[in-house]
Amino acid sequence: MAVVNKTILIVEDDESLVDLYSLEFQDEGYRVLAATSGERALARVQEDAVDLVVLDLKMEGMDGLTTLGELLRVRRDLPVVINSAYPAFKHDFGAWGAEAYVVKSANLDELKCRVREALQRREQVQAA
C-alpha cells in the first residue's frame, strides 16, 4: 500500500497529543490534518479529502460517538479508528461503525498498526 497521499485526520481535543500524533504520523509518511472538536472534524471532512480519521471519544461539545455517527452519515465508507482513554466501549460499540478501537497509550505502535490495516482494507475494497 502506498502511504503516500494518504491523509489522516486526527480528532483530539488535547493539544499536546495532537502535536505528538501529528509528528508521529508525519514520520510515517502521512499527511496529517487535525481537528480539536467533533464539529471541526465534520467541517474538515467535508472540505478536505480525508482517507482516515483517528477519533478521540471524550471531547467537549459533540462527543466522540455522535461525531462518529455524523462522520459516517457524511461519508459512509470513511474508515474511523477510535483512539480513546476509555476501554469500556471497546466491546460495546467498537465493532460497529468504527474500523478499530484502540485504547490510548504512550505506546503508539498499536494505533499505527490499526491505521495501516484500515487503510489497506479500504484500498482492497476500492480495488474490488
Binding site: 505528538l20 509528528l23 452519515r73 504512550a106 503508539l108
Partner: protein, 664 residues
C-alpha cells in the same frame, strides 16, 4: 333415689305449743333452756361474723353442731348446692369415724369440757383430726342430682324445712352409711333468697329424742350459717368482679401506652390466666397458615406438649367458628375433647374485630384455691375472658397494623440506604474513573514524546538511559491506570433511571448509515407512555444494537424493519421486527446459544450477550415468526424490580422448544 315420706321423719313441735303442757316449774326450766340456747346461738353467730371465709363459717357451723358444750351431736356434715351443675355436693364433715373413737372424745370431754370458742379456734387453726379428715373425704365424694332427690329429707331441707329422722334409711345412699344414727336431723342453710345447702347430723349414743330437742337450735344455727355464708359468697363475687374490672382497666391503659405487640400479648395472656385462676394460658393470632401461637404464659412449670397444643388449637378453632367463649373439658365435658387429658378444662374466647377473627385467647388448668372453689372455670371466668378478649381484640389489631407499618417503613429505609450507598459508590467509581481518564491524556503525551526523544538519541548517548527510564515509568503508570479503571468499572453499578425511547433513539441514530446503505425502511412506533426504567443505558444500547444488527442481516435489500415500544401492565416491551424470510424453528432455538452461529462474520456472541444483559435487568428476550414479519424479537423489561435472572450457559442449552417461541 326417691324415698317415700318416712313416718320416722318428724318436724319439731313449736316450743310454745310444748310449753302449754308443762307446770310452772317445767315452764321455768323450759325458759331457762331457751335462754341457754339463745346465749349459745349468740356465741355461735359472733364466731361466724368474725370471719368472711365461707370455709371457716362451715367449720364453725359443724363444730357447733358436734361440740359437747353446744349442740352435742356426734357427727355433722355440710352439703352445698352447685347451681350450675344442679347437684347437692358434699363439702365438709366433722366427727369421729367410729363409735370407739367417739368414746375417747367423750371421755376427754368429760375430763375437760372445752368451751365452744376454744373448740372453734382449734378447728380453724390446726389441721383437722384424722377422724375428721376421713369423714370429710367420704362426704366430699358425695354428689346428688337435686332433681332426683324426690321427697326425702334432703329435698325438704332444700325447700327450707328441716326435720329429724330416727332411722338413717330415709337418707340417700352414701349418707345413709355414714350417718347411721340411730337419730339425727337435716337442717337447711337458708340465705336471704335461697337455700345454699344442708347440714346433716346424727347421734349414735344417748336418747333418740335428744335430736328432736336440739332441732330448734340447730335450725337457727343453720339459718345463721346460711346467712353468713351467703354474705361471704356475695362478698367474694363482688371481690372477684372488682378485681376483674380493675384488671380490665389496667390492661386497657397498658394497651394504650405500650406499642409493643409482643409485650402486650404477653400481658394479655398472663392477665387472663391470673384472674381466672388458670395455671397457664395461650394466645393465638391468625396468620397465613391459620392460628399460630404468639404468646403463652404459665405459673411455674406447666406441662406443654404437641398433643396438648393440638387439643388446645381444636378448642380455639371451635371458639373462632362459633364466635363465642367456649368451655371444654373439665369433669362435666370429659368426652368431647379427649385430647386435652385427664380432668383438664380449657376456656377459650375468640378475638374478633368487627366480626372478623384475628385470633383466640385460651386459659387452661384451673387451680382450685381452697376447697370452696370449683375445680373448673365458672361463669364468672367465662364472662371475664369474653370481655377481656373483646377489649383486647381491637387493641391487638391496631398494634399489629402498626407493627406491619413499622416493618414496611424499616424495609423502605433499608432500601433507601442501599440506593444511597449505591449512588455513592457510583459517584466514587465515576470520580476515580474520571481522574484516571484525566491522567491518561497527559500521560500519553509524556510517554509519547519521551519515546520520540529516546528514538532520536544515539545508542551511546549519555541521556539514553534516563529517557528509557522515563518511558518505562510511563508504561508502568499506564498499567496502573488500566487496572484502576477495570476495578472502577466493576464496583460501579451503572443502573440509572432512563427513558427507554431515548436510548432506542440514540441507538437507531448510530445505525442510520447502515440502514441507508441497505435501503431499509425503518418503521418507528415508540409508545408515548413508557415510564423511566431502572437500567444500564450503555448495556441496553448494546442489546438493541445486537438485535438490530441481527435484524439487518436478515432483512433483504429494500425491506422493512419495525421498531416498537409499548407499555403493558407489568412490563415494557420493545419489538424489533424484520420482514426477512421466516426463520426456521431449529435456528430460532439456537439463536441465543453463544458461539452458535450460521454466519461467517461475528462470533455468535451478540445475541447471547444481549440475552444475558436483559436477564440482568430482570427481563427476557423472546423471538417469534409471524405472517407479516419473518422475525420478531421482543425484549421484555419489568416495570418494577430488577432481580438478576442471569443463567449460566449450561442452562441455556437444555431449554425446551416451548420456552422461547411464542405461539405464532
Amino acid at each position: 333415689m326417691s324415698d317415700p315420706l318416712p313416718h320416722r321423719f318428724c318436724t319439731p313441735r313449736s316450743r310454745a305449743h310444748a310449753a302449754r303442757d308443762l307446770d310452772p316449774a317445767g315452764q321455768v326450766a323450759l325458759l331457762e333452756r331457751e335462754l341457754a340456747d339463745l346465749e349459745l346461738l349468740f356465741r355461735v353467730v359472733n364466731l361466724m361474723h368474725a370471719t368472711l371465709d365461707p370455709e371457716h363459717i362451715a367449720r364453725i357451723t359443724l363444730t357447733s353442731m358436734t361440740a359437747g358444750t353446744a349442740l352435742g351431736m356426734n357427727r355433722a356434715a355440710m352439703l352445698l348446692v352447685d347451681e350450675e351443675a344442679g347437684t347437692l355436693r358434699g363439702y365438709l364433715a366433722v366427727g369421729p369415724q367410729s363409735r370407739e373413737a367417739a368414746q375417747e372424745i367423750w371421755t376427754d370431754m368429760e375430763r375437760e369440757p372445752l368451751p365452744l370458742e376454744e373448740l372453734v379456734r382449734l378447728a380453724l387453726g390446726s389441721a383437722p383430726g384424722p377422724g375428721d379428715a376421713a369423714l370429710s373425704a367420704r362426704v366430699k365424694a358425695l354428689s346428688y342430682p337435686i332433681a332426683a332427690l324426690g321427697a326425702g329429707p334432703l329435698a325438704k331441707a332444700l325447700e327450707g324445712a328441716g326435720g329429724c329422722f330416727e332411722a338413717p334409711d330415709v337418707l340417700p345412699a352414701g349418707l345413709r352409711d355414714m350417718f347411721d344414727g340411730p337419730s339425727g336431723f337435716v337442717v337447711p342453710l337458708r340465705a336471704t333468697e335461697r337455700v345454699l345447702g344442708v347440714v346433716v347430723a346424727d347421734r349414735f349414743a344417748g336418747e333418740p329424742s335428744a335430736s328432736g330437742e336440739r332441732l330448734a337450735l340447730a335450725l337457727e344455727v343453720a339459718h345463721q350459717a346460711g346467712l353468713a355464708m351467703g354474705n361471704a359468697q356475695q362478698l367474694n363475687e363482688v371481690r372477684i368482679r372488682a378485681a376483674q374490672l380493675g384488671t380490665l382497666h389496667e390492661l386497657g391503659k397498658h394497651f394504650l401506652a405500650v406499642q409493643d405487640l409482643g409485650w402486650s400479648l404477653h400481658m394479655l395472656v398472663r392477665c387472663a390466666s391470673e384472674v381466672t385462676s388458670a395455671r397457664a394460658g395461650v394466645v393465638w393470632l391468625s396468620g397465613e397458615k391459620g392460628l399460630q401461637i404468639e404468646s403463652r404464659w404459665a405459673a411455674g412449670d406447666a406441662p406443654a406438649s404437641a398433643e396438648l397444643d393440638a387439643a388446645l388449637i381444636q378448642v380455639a378453632m371451635e371458639a373462632t367458628r362459633c364466635g363465642e367463649t367456649v368451655l371444654a373439658g373439665g369433669p362435666e365435658n370429659a368426652g368431647a375433647h379427649a385430647g386435652l387429658g385427664e380432668g383438664r378444662s380449657v376456656l377459650c374466647a375468640p378475638l374478633l374485630v368487627r366480626g372478623r377473627v384475628i385470633g383466640a385467647l385460651a386459659v387452661y388448668d384451673h387451680i382450685a384455691m381452697g376447697s370452696f372453689e370449683p375445680s373448673a372455670f365458672d361463669r364468672h371466668d367465662r364472662q371475664f375472658l369474653g370481655t377481656l378478649a373483646d377489649q383486647a381484640a381491637n387493641a391487638v389489631e391496631n398494634l399489629r397494623l402498626m407493627e406491619s407499618t413499622r416493618q414496611s417503613e424499616q424495609r423502605l429505609r433499608e432500601t433507601q440506604a442501599l440506593l444511597l450507598r449505591n449512588e455513592k459508590l457510583a459517584a466514587l467509581g465515576e470520580m476515580s474513573a474520571k481522574v484516571a481518564h484525566e491522567i491518561r491524556n497527559p500521560l500519553a503525551a509524556i510517554g509519547g514524546f519521551a519515546r520520540r526523544v529516546t528514538r532520536s538519541l544515539g545508542q551511546s548517548d549519555p541521556n539514553r538511559e534516563a529517557m528509557e527510564l522515563i518511558v518505562r515509568e510511563t508504561e508502568r503508570l499506564e498499567r496502573i491506570l488500566s487496572e484502576q479503571l477495570q476495578f472502577a468499572q466493576l464496583s460501579r453499578p451503572r443502573l440509572q433511571m432512563e427513558d427507554l425511547n431515548k436510548v432506542l433513539g440514540e441507538t437507531l441514530q448510530l445505525l442510520g448509515p447502515a440502514l441507508g446503505e441497505r435501503k431499509v425502511r425503518l418503521i418507528k412506533r415508540l409508545g408515548p407512555d413508557i415510564p423511566p426504567l431502572l437500567l444500564d443505558p450503555d448495556k441496553i444500547k448494546q442489546v438493541l444494537l445486537n438485535i438490530l444488527q441481527n435484524a439487518l442481516q436478515n432483512v433483504s435489500h429494500g425491506g422493512r424493519v419495525r421498531v416498537e415500544t409499548r407499555r403493558l401492565p407489568e412490563f415494557v416491551e420493545v419489538d424489533v421486527a424484520n420482514d426477512g424470510p421466516k426463520i426456521p424453528g431449529e435456528v430460532m432455538e439456537r439463536l441465543f446459544v453463544p458461539f452458535c452461529t450460521s454466519r461467517e462474520h461475528g462470533t455468535g456472541l451478540g445475541l447471547a450477550v444481549a440475552d444475558q444483559i436483559v436477564r440482568e435487568h430482570g427481563g427476557e428476550i423472546r423471538v417469534r415468526s409471524d405472517s407479516d414479519w419473518g422475525c420478531v424479537f421482543s425484549v421484555v423489561l419489568p416495570l418494577e424490580g430488577n432481580t438478576d435472572r442471569r443463567r449460566h450457559v449450561a442452562d441455556r442449552r437444555s431449554r425446551s422448544r416451548t420456552d422461547r417461541r411464542e405461539a405464532a
